[in-house]
């Protein structure tokens, strides 16, 4: 039944390349989180507007991002945009797809967080003579980010896990892409993917730990 010999030594030789891939993965995830957070803040503000066009635009974005698979979103950016003559690279499609997804999920989190910031904060800020932009930037958003910090760090882990989808649209320099490259060269599927799984686990745990340290450092009164 079990006549398979594991070749870990060969697989371990690929570790430097895979670590490089892990760095690309981390970079992509971090970039998509940064962009996603900014877009999500914008969407949260748009959803509160009186203008129905802006509000519906934000609502549509959020509901599409939350109700379709992230792989589908990457697909439509990679294959679908060709209909308009836009040919994006697989990395760009991956980044845009994850950013779209992150923005949708985070906007929903931010909406909940915004409810937890008391209205009086805004009124107090305005009565101190701040304009709306100042009040948001200096009073509301810092408090909002404190409330949504935990969902934010969760979403960062999700973003890292989502970057593994890049391999399906042909990305070959992130962690999964490098692993798949070695896999098709040697057919040592189990060994390579086990190492990749371990690396992903370590990345996820590092993010969780880092977030905990950051929360401890940032949020003490």
């Amino acid at each position: 039944m079990f006549d398979y010999s594991f070749h870990w030594r060969v697989a371990l030789k690929a570790l430097p390349d895979m670590l490089n891939g892990a760095w690309v993965t981390l970079e992509t995830a971090a970039l998509s989180m940064l962009l996603g957070t900014m877009i999500a803040l914008l969407l949260t503000l748009l959803r509160q507007q009186q203008n129905p066009l802006l509000r519906h635009f934000a609502e549509t974005w959020v509901s599409i991002a939350r109700n379709t698979p992230s792989l589908f979103q990457i697909y439509i950016l990679y294959f679908g945009l060709g209909a308009f003559g836009l040919h994006v690279s697989s990395w760009l499609a991956l980044l845009a797809g994850i950013t779209f997804n992150n923005a949708g999920y985070l906007a929903e989190n931010f909406r909940g967080g915004l409810k937890a910031v008391p209205d009086t904060q805004m009124r107090a800020a305005r009565s101190l003579g701040m304009n709306a932009l100042h009040a948001y930037r200096l009073v509301i958003i810092p408090q909002l980010l404190r409330i949504v910090f935990h969902p934010l760090s969760n979403q960062m882990v999700w973003a890292v896990l989502m970057t593994s989808l890049g391999v399906i649209v042909g990305l070959n320099d992130d962690l999964t892409g490098v692993t798949q490259d070695y896999n098709v060269k040697t057919f040592r599927t189990f060994e390579y993917f086990a190492i990749a799984a371990l690396l992903y686990y370590l990345i996820a745990k590092t993010i969780v730990l880092g977030a905990r340290l950051m929360a401890w450092r940032l949020f003490r009164y």
């Binding site: 439509i76 896990l161 799984a197 992903y200 686990y201």
Partner: protein, 216 residues
């Protein structure tokens, strides 16, 4: 400009893929809920002793699903098991769902006030009676929205099984794209189907939730 070579049979093919997606979701959720409730009860009842279980389940939450599919698929070949790709897909998705479900169940059980359980025990209920008649009905109501979210996320994650060669909705639409070369149209239809399925599940869930609240 508005001509298309998409035929009815292509659409039917895609709907068949959607049916596979639904089957996968149902099978994975069945497996995931049963084992998730079991693990969640263990986690809530014996928090110290079931710590290794928590670490194991955490592993499934921190590794990309795509990699889990590939790993299990190759493990199947290594062990010489003769099961279909569909079964592998169900199994992996089921374990993945169980990992999340156990957390949902655990937090639901912990949301039941300890005094309520003490009251139940002091009325003469046994541990199991207390669990069955007091804790579980209350915990179900607390954890149901989380469980519904899990169903929706598992339904979306079924898209990844295409990597191990199962023809579900996204894979079927890809092969239709390969044939008629109109990616935007076909993918939009696939997205619409996903959207409608999510909407349907969410609606059913909301109705159930409302009915429960009426009885309270």
């Amino acid at each position: 400009m508005f001509t298309t070579s998409l035929t009815i049979s292509d659409l039917l093919f895609m709907l068949q893929g959607a049916w596979v997606t639904l089957q996968l979701t149902a099978a994975a959720m069945l497996l995931g809920t049963l084992s998730g409730v079991l693990c969640g009860l263990l986690r809530a009842g014996l928090p110290r002793a079931s710590l290794p279980l928590a670490w194991l389940l955490d592993l499934f939450r921190s590794v990309p699903l795509l990699i889990q599919f590939v790993l299990f698929n190759s493990l199947k070949s290594i062990a010489g098991l003769d099961i279909s790709a569909f079964a592998v897909g169900c199994l992996v998705l089921g374990i993945y769902a169980a990992a999340f479900c156990s957390e949902i169940v655990r937090s639901g059980i912990q949301a039941v006030p300890a005094n309520l359980r003490r009251a139940a025990r002091s009325l003469g209920m046994s541990y199991w009676q207390d669990l069955r008649h007091v804790v579980l009905p209350l915990a179900t109501r607390v954890s149901f929205p989380g469980w519904l979210n899990l169903v929706l996320s598992v339904m979306k994650d079924t898209a990844l099984v295409m990597w191990i060669g199962i023809f579900e909705l996204l894979r079927t639409s890809q092969s239709v794209v390969t044939r008629i070369q109109e990616p935007l149209l076909v993918l939009c239809i696939a997205g619409l189907i996903y959207y409608l399925m999510s909407l349907l599940v969410a609606q059913l869930g909301n109705r159930l939730e409302k009915r429960w609240q009426e009885n309270d």
